[in-house]
């Protein structure tokens, strides 16, 4: 839920990157962190296991600066992708203003992606959000993999709500900002 603080002239919004393990959620945030103007971002916080898998969440605060006198901030979060962390994903989703669903385009990950998007829908209902109107974009990541499924197939089975979608190779930074632009505008349009 966005927070508009008239007294301090600040607007805060929360964007959550959701998806299966190793789909590239943390990689998206890392690319934003290293590529964006350093004045526009805070420190990136990662709560990871010893093997660098996300345990709780990654957190990256972005500051758009003052717009019509209001300092506008986006807080980016990732959820842990591994199946066993379902309850943790729900905890991170709480209070979200927008979702980026990151998909691993590889054929062998297809079923896992289907389960993950279905879990997202259930979790959104649990926190009282209606996915049909909620700001959400999909990122088709790992487009450079030889076994990546055609986008048309992914669209047909994973994007039934026909939300905006973007191809990406997050490890090279491709499509990362296009995705971020889309979800940021979608969140602001809902304010």
């Amino acid at each position: 839920m966005a927070l508009i603080n008239i007294a301090t002239h600040e607007i805060h919004c929360k964007i959550v990157y959701y998806g299966i393990g190793y789909c590239g959620k943390t990689t998206n945030l890392q690319h934003v962190f290293k590529s964006i103007n350093p004045n526009a971002r805070g420190e990136m916080l990662s709560i990871a296991t010893e093997t660098e898998r996300t345990l709780f969440f990654d957190f990256l605060p972005l500051d758009l600066g003052s717009i019509h006198g209001f300092r506008t901030r986006f807080h980016l979060y990732t959820v842990p992708g591994q199946i066993l962390y379902e309850r943790t994903r729900l905890a991170v989703l709480n209070g979200a203003d927008g979702i980026v669903f990151v998909t691993d385009s590889q054929a062998e990950k297809f079923e896992e992606n289907v389960q993950s998007i279905s879990e997202l829908e259930i979790n959104m209902r649990r926190i009282g959000k209606d996915m049909s109107t909620f700001p959400c974009v999909i990122q088709w990541n790992k487009r450079d993999m030889p076994n990546a499924l055609p986008v048309s197939v992914l669209e047909r089975y994973l994007n039934r709500r026909r939300v905006p979608s973007y191809e990406a190779i997050a490890s090279d930074g491709k499509g990362v900002f296009a995705t971020l632009r889309a979800i940021s505008k979608s969140v602001m349009a809902q304010l």
Binding site: M1, A2, L3, I4, N5, I6, A7, T8, I11, H12, K14, V32, S35, I36, N37, A40, G42, E43, L45, F56, F57, F59, P61, L62, L64, G65, I67, H68, F70, T72, H75, Y77, R87, T88, L90, A91, V92, N94, G95, A96, D97, R126, I127, G128, K129, D130, G173, K174, V176, F177, L180, R181, S184, K185, M188, A189, Q190, L191
Partner: protein, 175 residues
Amino acid sequence: MLGAYTEGGASMEQLTNLVISDRELASISTLLMKLMNDTHATSAMLIDKSGQVVAVQGTGSRRNATTLGALLAGVFSSSREVAKLLDEKDFRNIFQQGVQENIYTSMVEEQWLLVIIFDRLTHIGLVKVLSKKASEELVRVLERVRNDSSRARSSVINLQFRSSVEDTIDLLFRD
């Protein structure tokens, strides 16, 4: 001790946004300052359950307030899930005990978290009692904020603002 949102609250439709006016922020800041002074705490914060900082008092936590807000809200939200697994519905506080500093976090309805950071000179019992009292007053503030949110929002979010935000997003979020 674990805090938890109730099942009923979790299934309610959440508000799209919450607008804090000058008047309400002043009330919140006064409450936090009073709580801090009465408990001799080092800092007091009010954070939204999404992790956004609504207000902060005290010097110790200001620097890290944004990160603290994200982490404490995450911990609290996570503890809600733990409580559900235990069939526990009304754990609404978390006490984190350190060597030098302690943190006591309590829920204000289903929306906000009141955080008190205090050292060894303050007794947890005092913090608990006075936090509860402050929470009751914050509930009234929250009620007013909820009632005023849509009116106050339209005073900020207009067409011109939306257009400028889009331009800024295009400028800042680019390869």
